[in-house]
């Protein structure tokens, strides 16, 4: 199987979907000639032309709104936010028009919004956000957040083919740092299915996105140093999230740690925690633990940002507390 980086896997999925279906088109700021701020769509305009790879004006509200309109009449737009943070400028369109029209009209809105998210690149307060929780709270939107090249490609294909609007969170920090096997033939990673990344008996880490890699590293370290086996569950899809697989794991390990890069309070971890206590309380041997970034804006100073984000050391410490409970 060919090896691709995370970013190459996203590009491949877009490329193949554009080849497969001419109703698929891309729109966003600087995505054509410039190839996108991160070069995800480099070379696309030469292959697919400027009618399908559209450099828009700098106006996120109009981008998301126009994509929604095109989707409502059956096209399959993939809109790029240059950084996930800038979706704030398109908030109204997304939570009102994109999310709720099917509920009222019964017409599907088959579109994707790409959101390059996350910190660790020293982007400061407005180029580092993880804004998934805002949209998690909005019925009508689906949310996916791949952590590997395999999932990045498979989830993008699934997102484009899905009849509902899908927010696709992709992680700038992972773009060129993570490599992996990516099949060159057509496949989808189904939306709503978690992936058991590592099996274990003693505790479960439920996570998604960049913190999957931190969880795996931490689990390895704990196994080596302390002999405990930690299960790592990568949600991959945040809405809907895979309730069945979460419950299975909880029933097996009886201890749960929920980890994400988004700030803790009001983050998705809270909802997952509530879900587990509602449905598997009797299986829990310890209170559920949560970790995310600190409940503050994202600081620029690299020293501060490092402390702001979750990391392996912090994760190991909390998992040990959980194990010792």
């Amino acid at each position: 199987m060919p090896i691709q980086t995370y970013i190459e896997a996203i590009s491949s999925a877009l490329w193949e979907e554009m080849e497969r279906d001419k109703e698929v088109f891309l729109l966003g700021e600087d995505i054509a000639d410039y190839g996108g701020a991160f070069k995800v769509t480099k070379g696309f305009v030469d292959k697919f032309g400027e009618d399908r790879v559209i450099d828009t004006v700098l106006a996120e509200s109009a981008i998301i709104g126009a994509a929604t309109g095109a989707a409502l009449v059956g096209m399959r737009p993939v809109a790029e936010m240059q950084f996930a943070d800038f979706v704030t400028c398109g908030f109204n369109q997304l939570v009102n028009n994109t999310a709720t029209t099917h509920y009222r009209w019964g017409l599907p809105v088959p579109m994707v919004v790409r959101l390059p998210a996350g910190g660790n690149i020293h982007g400061g307060p407005f180029h580092s956000r993880n804004p998934e929780a805002w949209f998690f709270h909005q019925p009508g939107l689906k949310l996916v957040a791949p952590s590997t090249p395999y999932d990045a490609k498979g989830l993008m294909k699934a997102a484009i083919r899905d009849p509902d609007p899908v927010l696709y969170f992709e992680y700038k920090y992972l773009y060129r740092r993570i490599k992996g096997d990516v099949p060159s033939d057509d496949y989808e990673v189904p939306i709503g299915k978690a992936d058991l990344k590592r099996e274990g008996e003693d505790a479960t880490i439920v996570t998604y996105g960049p913190t999957v890699h931190i969880a795996l590293d931490a689990a390895k370290e704990i196994a080596n140093n302390d002999g405990y086996t930690i299960e790592v569950l990568d949600l991959r899809s945040l809405m809907p999230f895979d309730k069945e697989t979460i419950l299975e794991s909880v029933k097996k390990t009886n201890k749960v740690f929920i980890l994400h890069e988004d700030t803790v309070t009001g983050g998705i971890g809270g909802e997952i925690s509530a879900f587990i206590t509602e449905h598997a309380f009797e299986y829990l041997d310890a209170p559920i633990k949560r970790m995310g970034s600190l409940d503050t804006p994202v600081p620029y100073a690299p020293t501060l940002e490092e402390e702001f984000l979750p990391n392996k050391k912090k994760v190991v410490q909390v998992v040990k507390e959980l194990l010792e409970f």
Binding site: D33, Y34, A59, C89, G124, T296, P299, Y300, A301
Partner: protein, 356 residues
């Protein structure tokens, strides 16, 4: 012109981008005639521009050395816009701009030390390292930011101006932003509001021809951006942004109108960035030609203003040289200062999320 997704009719039009960028300053006949600027002030303006240029050159170097991380947008080439504008204002007037903000911060009197330290993410930076390159500010100096969400600060300016008018204070707000920012809805929302409320505000669009990799001709249905203000019956003008005297005169006129008549103005300054969009973007990239960059560099606002000051016998070659040395020293000291400053203490992470 490059391929375009813009309306087809635009493809055939000749761009008028550099039409208002007239003859370079040093070749104009008597450009200082009738201009109310003392020699002292002219010299200060030259120094201000040169400080920005030298600062940016060093910032680029420090970025290369990974002393500065993340995103960093340089102002080289556009110095006359912020400096000419500043010369037209008073100390207490409010200033704000987007993320290409080192120049605006420096000319408002935030020290090179504090700006460089902020870029380095040090506790001595003007935002204690929390904001970085794109979010410089000092409310006491009335430099109301550095703003990284394109267009997001345009309505803040209306708020400052509203407060000044409401309290019967004399201060004017001057708000800078890029060409691409004028395509955000909030630009139109706010211009209408400013006109309706008769706010003492001057909006200055720094049209440097590109929003990142997209030429403004591919992003605007009407190329004379300043004409957009006609929809709000707002006084408007186009400015030669490579000519600091033209910038000064037109900003002054607008600032006076704001102060004395509570009438907002929209100025479009045609200018050019000599560097890439940010540090990760090469100098001419795929979206513009080397020739174009060279052509615009010949209109270097600092070189040409220097030539004018020599021609007018205000400064000699020696003066220019010693000024340059002095400024380089200031910038080198700023590097040392930033280098030697402490990292922010980790307790800072939790401070200032709320007032207490």
């Amino acid at each position: 012109m490059a391929k375009s997704a813009a309306p087809k009719k635009n493809k055939k039009k000749e761009s008028s981008f550099d039409k208002p960028i007239k003859k370079t300053l040093s070749k104009q006949k008597d450009p200082l005639k009738g201009v109310d600027l003392s020699e002292e002030k002219l010299i200060q303006m030259y120094k201000d521009m040169l400080l920005i240029r030298r600062f940016e050159e060093k910032a680029a170097q420090m970025y290369g050395l990974e002393k500065i991380m993340g995103f960093c947008h340089l102002y080289n080439g556009q110095e006359a816009v912020a400096v000419g504008g500043n010369a037209a204002t008073r100390e207490k007037d409010y200033f704000l701009t987007a993320y290409r903000d080192h120049g605006h911060a420096l000319v408002r009197g935030i020290s090179a030390n504090e700006v460089m330290a902020e870029l380095f993410g040090k506790v001595t930076g003007c935002s204690r390292g929390k904001g970085g390159s794109m979010h410089l500010f000092d409310a006491e100096k009335r430099m109301m930011g550095g703003h990284a969400i394109v267009g997001g600060h345009i309505p803040l300016a209306a708020g400052f101006a509203f407060a000044s008018k409401y309290r019967a204070e004399q201060d004017v707000t001057v708000c800078y932003f890029g060409d691409a920012a004028a395509n955000q809805g909030v630009f139109h929302e706010t211009l209408n509001m400013a006109a309706l409320w008769k706010l003492p505000v001057v909006y200055v669009c720094e049209n440097n021809r590109y929003g990142m990799g997209t030429a403004f001709e591919r992003a605007f249905a009407v190329w004379d951006i300043y004409e957009r203000a006609s929809a709000y019956d707002m006084p408007r003008d186009v400015v030669d942004g490579m000519d600091i005297i033209d910038v000064y005169k037109k900003t002054k006129e607008a600032v006076d109108r704001a102060r004395n008549e509570h009438t907002p103005t929209f100025l479009e300054a045609r200018t050019y960035r000599f560097r890439g969009h940010s540090m990760s973007d090469p100098i001419h990239g795929h979206y513009r030609t080397k020739e174009e960059v060279e052509e615009m560099k010949a209109k270097d606002p600092i070189v040409n203003f220097g030539e004018l000051l020599k021609k007018e016998d205000i400064l000699s070659d020696e003066d220019l040289k010693s000024m340059d040395e002095e400024i380089k020293k200031t910038v080198n000291e700023a590097i040392e200062y930033a280098e030697e400053s402490e990292e922010p203490p980790l307790d800072d992470l939790y401070t200032d999320v709320y007032v207490d």
